[in-house]
Symmetry: C2
Subunit: 198 residues, 2 copies
């Protein structure tokens, strides 16, 4: 049996290393790239090289950015005394879509003793320094509502409380448009615990 030409096979292998892309999808993508224009293929290749070359961490919030500080930290429209702590850049983007107007701090991970991720492996020390240095009135902990995220939020709140800043956690409960009938019991409990007077 003779397989694909070596350069096609090389591309299939490289694509199949991406998450969620198996060999069949990689083959389909490789064939699409082969059939697309040279311009389009080069645009994709140059985007890949470009992103590795130009992206760096913002020295203030550790967002991924082409510039330092990032466009959010550099913006004069933002409340600088409100820092929202997130695990990943994707979470930051989700908050941006909601219209949040403070600043961020990206941890790049969450505490996970089982995976050997401790406080020094994520950007917690940098957050503590930032709260010590700057005028930060409120730190909003927006880590994920799972074991690691909750542990990270608790750990950070204990570190920051002595510094005098107000520490808050985002609310968890029934999602808007959700159906009470199908809500799991943990979410329902959180929703009742977090009830507010109207």
């Amino acid at each position: 049996m003779i397989g694909y030409a070596p350069s096609i096979q090389r591309l299939i292998n490289a694509l199949a290393r991406l998450p969620g892309i198996g060999e069949k999808t990689a083959t389909r993508l490789a064939m699409h790239i082969l059939n697309s224009s040279t311009d389009e293929a080069e645009n994709l290749a140059h985007s890949i090289i470009g992103v590795k070359k130009s992206i760096q961490f913002c020295s203030i919030c550790f967002n991924l950015s082409d510039s330092d500080p990032c466009s959010i930290c550099a913006s004069s429209d933002r409340r600088t005394d409100e820092v929202c702590v997130v695990e990943e850049v994707n979470d930051l983007m989700a908050l941006e879509r909601s219209g949040f107007k403070g600043r961020y701090h990206v941890l790049h991970g969450a505490l996970s003793p089982l995976q050997g991720i401790g406080p020094n492996d994520i950007r917690i020390n940098e957050l503590v320094e930032r709260v010590k240095d700057g005028p930060v009135n409120e730190v909003i902990l927006a880590t994920n509502p799972n074991t690691q995220g909750e542990a990270t939020a608790l750990y950070i709140s204990r570190l920051l409380k002595p510094l005098g800043a107000k520490i808050t956690r985002i609310a968890f409960g029934i999602p808007m448009g959700g159906d009470l009938e199908y809500v799991d019991e943990v979410t329902m409990l959180r929703s009742i615990e977090g009830r507010r007077e109207i």
Copy 2:
């Protein structure tokens, strides 16, 4: 709202143009590329450029190949008088996996009047020339068992019959390991029509 850094957004857009990759998957892939090593990202980028530069059609069978003729046509192990006609390179690979030891002819498409694909848009003329020129005893039509594939097989068989070569069509029926209970009626009919004495 401030979005991803321009170079990340450019990569997301380029990835989202690939088939079956939406914006969410493209974002996940872009983040993976950002987090992977520079070597790995460059390998992917260079594979994309490499495949566009080095891949050409084999002048005999129109397989995609780094060399001309392709490794299958150049091999001395192959029966040169048996030509298996397929629609796409992927179909050729499926036949290779079965251990077929003849040669191929890749049409790069199938006749489809509705989509405006006529005999001159796919490699039918080249197949006719090949059968005329070379010692070809048997042409095996392995186009897909759908309207376009069947029409293409019929069209080619009518063109090639007068040239004296034996024209055959691959068998259609119940797949091995399949369950008769769940076989659709068209496949079942084909299976009965194609019955053989044992």
